[in-house]
């Protein structure tokens, strides 16, 4: 006689699919959970720059109150951007049309994904340049340059902290995408605009992606497609 096997759920408490037996779970008043929201709804939506700038300014000052150095401040912004990168990776891959829905397999494919699809999603334009380091000591470094990062537009950096670049937040997002795709990396943001008179892009920022050793080894090992 076949008896219904008890579902061995990991949560421990078997879900009865009745709201009353879940003391900790609450549903919103209109009954719509996050699973009811469509994923493509925000594809063409835009957020007001003012509200983002307000929030980002608050994030920077929140971090600034708690740290003592520039490195720590950039690290905090990086850590805040990292989970966003992980979520964006799957979301953007989901939204791709099925023919091109492939996971990036090598560094170049990953970088192209970042500079076109990710950048277009975040800033409505692709990144300005993608370069590989020509230094023979560091063959695993790549640089993405952005002439005018959106996040820095309303952040004014005092002269004594001019090594700080708040695009460390965007560097955190990029690092999240790389880590999620299986290419662990460290991404940092460096300002290369010197702020001189007559310079075309004073806020130009370069994101340096340094991939870890195992990624480089795997790249060399896999056959070139």
């Amino acid at each position: 006689m076949a008896s219904q096997p008890a579902k061995q759920t990991l949560a421990g408490n078997a879900s009865q699919s009745q709201r009353t037996s879940q003391p900790g779970l609450r549903y919103p008043s209109n009954g719509k959970t996050i699973y009811h929201r469509p994923l493509n709804r925000s594809r063409t939506q835009e957020l007001s720059q003012a509200s983002f700038a307000y929030l980002f300014g608050e994030m920077v000052s929140y971090a600034q109150k708690r740290v003592t150095g520039i490195q720590d401040l950039e690290k905090r912004l990086n850590v805040q951007g990292h989970p966003i990168g992980l979520k964006l990776l799957d979301l953007l891959l989901y939204r791709e049309p099925p023919r091109t829905q492939t996971r990036p397999l090598n560094i170049i494919a990953l970088l192209q994904f970042i500079t076109t699809i990710l950048w277009r999603h975040l800033f409505s334009r692709p990144a300005d340049a993608l370069e590989k380091s020509s230094n023979p000591d560091t063959p695993d470094e790549y640089m993405i340059s952005d002439n005018d990062p959106l996040v820095n537009q309303y952040i004014s950096v005092p002269k004594e902290m001019n090594q700080l670049n708040c695009a460390a937040f965007v560097a955190g997002i990029v690092e999240g995408v790389c880590d999620g795709a299986g290419f662990p990396a460290r991404v940092t943001a460096h300002s290369v605009g010197k702020g001189e008179e007559g310079e075309l892009w004073p806020g130009k920022t370069v994101f340096l992606l340094k991939f870890q050793q195992e990624v480089v080894e795997r790249e060399a090992f896999l056959p070139k497609s």
């Binding site: 076949a2 219904q4 096997p5 579902k7 061995q8 759920t9 990991l10 949560a11 879900s15 699919s17 879940q22 779970l25 959970t33 996050i34 699973y35 929201r37 994923l39 989970p83 992980l86 979520k87 990776l89 799957d90 979301l91 891959l93 989901y94 829905q101 492939t102 996971r103 990036p104 397999l105 494919a109 999620g180 795709a181 299986g182 795997r218 896999l222």
Partner: protein, 163 residues
Amino acid sequence: MSYYFAIIGTQDNPLFEYEFGTSKQGGDGIARFPEQARHMNQFIVHSSLDIVEEVQWGGGQMYLKCIDRFYNNYVSCFITGGNVKFFLLHAPSQPAVANTTRASTSIAANPTSPQTEEAIKQFFAEVYENWVKTIMNPFYQVNMEVKSPVFRGRVAAAGKKYL
């Protein structure tokens, strides 16, 4: 006839498990694994993790078809962008009547036919959509267990619809 679905995270940790049976052709949707073999499902899925990691760098597609077979159990896999793997273990049950010569073409009985692969692909696509919604939750960190009963209900509905 019986399916065991598992989601495995990036550290080879299980995030979600679900057993169900086929709802097509008169099936009642209840899994019928033999009691002494039920715990083997986890081991079989775990052993196919190595194969997935080998195959995933060969091609960029997300749906890897049937990647492994262990006696009567077939394992199919789908890998997401974030290296989270969905496994479906498919155990066709033994034919109840031994003297029938007409082979069944149902999905449940033929694990490697193209219709089955197509049905499993659609099942995975639906679970992937719900999975992306799960990870978009700002309170969900990577490799956290998925405890939401709504997610479980959605996976169950997808299983009923396609398998």
